[in-house]
């Protein structure tokens, strides 16, 4: 993990209010793994004060991309970056997917909204390992589907403007019951209600499942204790999302 001031390559539109920011960092590009994130300082001043976490969305040999929604001041500043300007990036932060080692035949990736963010690199890593991948991506409507770099993609939209009319978990469940994928492992990222539905699906089918979580962070490196994730088990205990996560074996946490 390091802090690096990185030149911005471009900021391009990827959907309704959705942008992809590319910056140059050969170090991060060559070391970051699926599920890890970058903690980015959007302003040199104090507005906002804290860094903002974003999953690594895509990399080549020298560059890294993140994909984001403009929701507040930090993302608005990132959207406004021009080529040649710089951003201050801490990373790679967190631990990648791979918390669970159960053997499986097919990786089923489920993304809700910008929960798609960690899935392209995961897809690439799985391809390198020779694992077949099936992907399910859901969003409010067509404009919210960021589809690049995914494999065997099935889309669900809340308004039916593309693909399945309904939730992405319902779509995935239907697919899982009608198609034979062998031993399946689920990988999911998205809003909490979606992840809860994925957890139910995994439990019902006895499938291993890893999720990538989102939530407020103070530091992103494990020093503030600001990002608790409740652990499964009798005793009340928390893991740190930024350090032990953001990826978790779903059986180990309570969401």
């Amino acid at each position: 993990m390091m802090i690096e001031v990185c030149p911005v390559g471009e900021v391009r539109t990827a959907g309704d209010g959705i942008f992809i920011l590319r910056f140059r960092s050969p170090r991060i590009a060559t070391t970051i793994r699926a599920g890890q994130f970058l903690n980015i300082r959007a302003s040199e001043g104090i507005d906002p004060l804290l860094r903002r976490p974003f999953s690594a969305y895509w990399t080549d040999k020298t560059d890294v991309e993140i994909v984001f929604h403009v929701v507040g001041r930090g993302t608005a500043l990132l959207q406004g970056k021009r080529p040649g300007e710089t951003i201050d990036v801490l990373g790679p932060a967190g631990t990648p997917f791979g918390k669970d080692n159960s053997p499986f035949d097919t990786a089923v990736l489920i993304g809700g909204g910008l929960g798609v963010a960690p899935l392209p690199i995961l897809t690439r890593e799985l391809a390198v390992a020779g694992t077949p991948v099936v992907s399910f991506l859901g969003g409010r409507s067509r404009g919210y589907i960021v589809r690049d770099h995914l494999e065997n993609l099935h889309v669900a939209t809340d308004d039916g403007s593309e693909g399945f009319h309904g939730t992405v978990v319902a779509l995935a469940e239907r697919s899982l019951t009608t198609t034979s994928f062998g031993r399946v492992k689920l990988f999911a990222c998205g809003p909490m209600p979606m992840l809860r539905a994925v957890a139910v699906l995994a439990r019902k089918n006895g499938m291993p499942c890893e999720v990538s979580l989102e939530g407020p962070m103070g530091c992103g490196i494990g020093i503030c204790q600001g990002c608790p994730v409740e652990l499964a088990g009798e005793e009340k205990k928390y893991a740190l999302m930024c350090k032990e996560g953001p990826t978790f074996d779903i059986r180990t946490i309570r969401i």
């Binding site: 993990m1 802090i3 962070m217 103070g218 490196i221 994730v229 350090k243």
Partner: protein, 314 residues
């Protein structure tokens, strides 16, 4: 180059910039990002007798120029600290101040006793000012008799520097500083966080699980400087100033207002090497201003004929 070292009792700090409790972990996550050996000291996350899970989420929310936190003193407990963290901390080649939190006076004593046996602990900071736990913390910190009592009990137990960390959530912080000075504290840290609150207007729920939390960061700096000024005029023991320091100028303001040393907290979340930059910046300032010892800055405020409202209750 100016002399930067600072002495408290039998402990010499290489400079006057420390990492604040709860904002630097136990030093281990930081080492990739910054070199702790260039700080005057690392103050550990508050240690309690038993491990503490801490408060449920949400624990952190950003506000204008600040951070509200309700960590609830989550920590691994003093025993795991000794086993898992202290060896590494000791290797960092800077002073280690163990910060202690507890729910009862006996527990403060017990934790201090356990730590005082150890090599590699250079001093103690007693947290009587955490606003995010129900037992202990602020209920002590806002009670003058209680913090005097804690100091009285702890003082004979250690030969190392004993620093009491005060809360700003009181009318006259100077009275609290005087109370612990009278009981033999070697220094006071001014200040812990201010009680604050944020509401999610869509759900109409508090954002933090404990409704209120502690406010830190640059937003509170002017308040912290005033508290340091007030305290430093009231006591003879050193005041360690903190609250909202993010750069060299901020740290200089504290020193000039009366702080003998400073701690940097929240800024570590954004830039873990901020403390080092500040220590360097203070040196540069001294060189530029022909100051041969940072000590000469301490309390060097030239207030002219000005009189502050805080003077009226000193």
């Amino acid at each position: 180059m100016a002399t930067t070292s600072f002495r408290l009792r039998n402990c010499e700090f290489k400079n006057r910039v420390f990492a604040a409790s709860g904002t630097y972990g136990y030093g281990d996550e930081i080492v990739d990002l910054a070199d702790p050996s260039r700080l005057g000291a690392i103050v550990t996350k508050s240690l309690s007798l038993k491990p503490r899970a801490g408060n449920p989420p949400v624990r952190i929310v950003e506000t204008t120029g600040g951070v509200l936190n309700s960590i609830g003193l989550a920590n691994i407990g003093v025993h795991s600290f000794l086993e898992e963290k202290l060896p590494h901390l000791r290797s960092m080649n800077t002073a280690v101040i163990a910060n202690i939190a507890a729910g009862t006076v006996d527990e403060y004593c017990e934790v201090l006793r356990i730590l005082d046996d150890q090599e590699g602990i250079d001093g103690f900071e007693i947290n009587v000012s955490c606003p995010n736990v129900r037992e202990g913390g602020l209920s002590f910190g806002t009670d003058r008799a209680a913090i005097a009592d804690i100091t009285r009990r702890l003082r004979p137990m250690t030969k190392r520097p004993l620093i009491i960390k005060l809360t700003p959530n009181v009318s006259h912080i100077a009275e609290f500083a005087r109370a612990v000075e009278a009981e033999g504290a070697d220094a006071v840290s001014v200040m812990n966080t201010l009680i604050g609150m944020a509401v999610d207007v869509n759900t109409r729920k508090p954002i933090l699980s404990t409704i209120t939390g502690g406010l830190s960061g640059p937003a509170i700096k002017p308040i912290a400087i005033a508290k340091v000024y007030e305290t430093a005029r009231a006591v003879k023991i050193p005041v360690i100033g903190l609250g909202g320091i993010v750069n060299t100028t901020d740290a200089l303001e504290f020193l000039i207002a009366g702080a003998s040393a400073v701690q940097v907290g929240t800024v570590n979340f954004v830039d873990p090497s901020a403390g080092i930059k500040i220590a360097d910046g203070i040196n540069r300032y001294c060189d530029e201003h022909g100051i041969d010892d940072v000590a000469r800055l301490v309390g060097s405020l030239d207030a002219g004929t000005g009189i502050s409202v805080v003077d009226s209750w000193l």
